[in-house]
Symmetry: C2
Amino acid sequence: MSTRYLLLAEGFSGDPHYGKTMRGVLRYRRDDVVAILDSTRAGETEDGAPVVSSVEEALPLGPNTALVGVATQGGRFPPEWIAILRACVEHGLDVENGLHVFLADAAELLELAERRGVELRDLRRPPAELSTATGENLAVDATIVLTVGSDCAIGKMTVSLELDLEARRRGLRSVFVPTGQTGMAIAGWGIAVDAVVADFIAGAAERLVVEGRSRGGELLWVEGQGSLLHPVYSGVTLGLYHGSAPHLLVLCHECGRTEIEGAGGGPHPIPPLPDLVELHERLALPVRPARVAAVALNTSVLGEAEARTAIARAAAETGLPADDPVRFGASKLVDAVLAAAP
Amino acid sequence: MSTRYLLLAEGFSGDPHYGKTMRGVLRYRRDDVVAILDSTRAGETEDGAPVVSSVEEALPLGPNTALVGVATQGGRFPPEWIAILRACVEHGLDVENGLHVFLADAAELLELAERRGVELRDLRRPPAELSTATGENLAVDATIVLTVGSDCAIGKMTVSLELDLEARRRGLRSVFVPTGQTGMAIAGWGIAVDAVVADFIAGAAERLVVEGRSRGGELLWVEGQGSLLHPVYSGVTLGLYHGSAPHLLVLCHECGRTEIEGAGGGPHPIPPLPDLVELHERLALPVRPARVAAVALNTSVLGEAEARTAIARAAAETGLPADDPVRFGASKLVDAVLAAAP
């Protein structure tokens, strides 16, 4: 039976930052979504999907899986959600959750799920027997491309997905490699590398590129996480970088963003793009000297003419091909990656 | 009752790499150690402590706590250790363990410990309610000094401990901040930052500098972990760097080491010291522009004249004060840090 999602986004479905998982699934698995639950926006629609006020209201639409569609910082469950989750389970829906707090650790919910015969899937629960990286990443017989960026939540996953789609349109044996809960919900596999034991970040990334190859990928688009100069998440970023052993990087940036968001104690200014290119290349392992192949801009805050100017400026500043793959198509960036591939 | 350690190092007490915890405790808490268990070296002594072949043989010496003194890569328990751990518990010893695998997760051992009324302390178990960094690290009213290095297991913890001892000898309000299992066994507090959820590395480091200040420290020596260009552990290194928000760094290097050890897929060459200085300063957050204050060399493989030559060369290459604080005292490096402190 195919998945028919009820997206749980109570109170957050209108928030572009906190509704990241919901938005990703709406964009890349729209056909699998039957409704969105957010009582604060009931009666509206989002990408054509109806927003409902309760689990009961969604039932006639035939969902079989509820997906926790919000990601809060630190990953805790808002208390008001417990009642919603109980209602999903009581009505026989499987539940997928991408927060750091696990559904299966809530004893009462787990017991109810067992009684009702539904599954609780914690996307961020690391696989058992994860360990440190071994060097097997360096032997993967594929071109590995990692998205990196100037901040969190600027579109690194989207760029990886768009470039993968374009590569597959061209008939290439291309695979998107999910490293976070939204990517996993979209692609149906992966490891949330931010949720593993810190010593095992690179080990998890290594396992993912090995699996991407075993899924037939000769061109692997690894979903990036965080940012090298993000005060909160930089450790995950560097561990993912070294563990995924990319040949090439695509540097992502959101136009108009000048400071890293969501980190206390700031302001935390974002360096100019050429500095970011140089910094990322400096941090490549000597044994795998990754180069930035292209710049992917998120120009969503700009008008079209301004967007084209911003792209031309980024290309001039960095000397690299640049584009907004969501707005203008992924063709130029895929060309750039293929031209730079070893 | 003060701690009287039996150090468990079966098969590894002679190995300088794997006996790291044992060696650290022998060096900095020698008076608390009554014996070392390693049947392969029974009858010998190590730093004056007798090496015994079994738990039973150690009992007349009056231990009250067994400490797992070896750290294996990936942190798994060698199977033959289970019998030793059972014997410790059966004879009423508390057990401290710094591996990623937790004693308290072994149901049978836990049950036995409860029956015998002894405590199983897993040093690497992260504190509950750990979360992401908040920016509070930047408000800590102390001078924060982090050791960084060209590789793992080259003496970063030892340098932090020696500089702390020297600072305290001078009457400064100085505190060593433990970030790994050996530092924790020595100092009796801390968090093993390599064992926390990856998203929380910086949050754990932040909590540690906040606690170091609340313990009275005006000069905090944060124990470094890993290395920025280590293929396996770099994520922990960068998360600890940004999360501990150091004002100053002490760059540690072991003379004679030209490649990173213990990482597959190599060789992984170590860059020249000036490159490492520049790379570490590049990765400071703009809001907290850390500078390398001094270079600490581990010259243990060199004769004395060669050691002095290597130190002079490192100072000339980097333009920074350099010394081997274990061999020649920590005075010069403490002077350098105090001169550079904000």
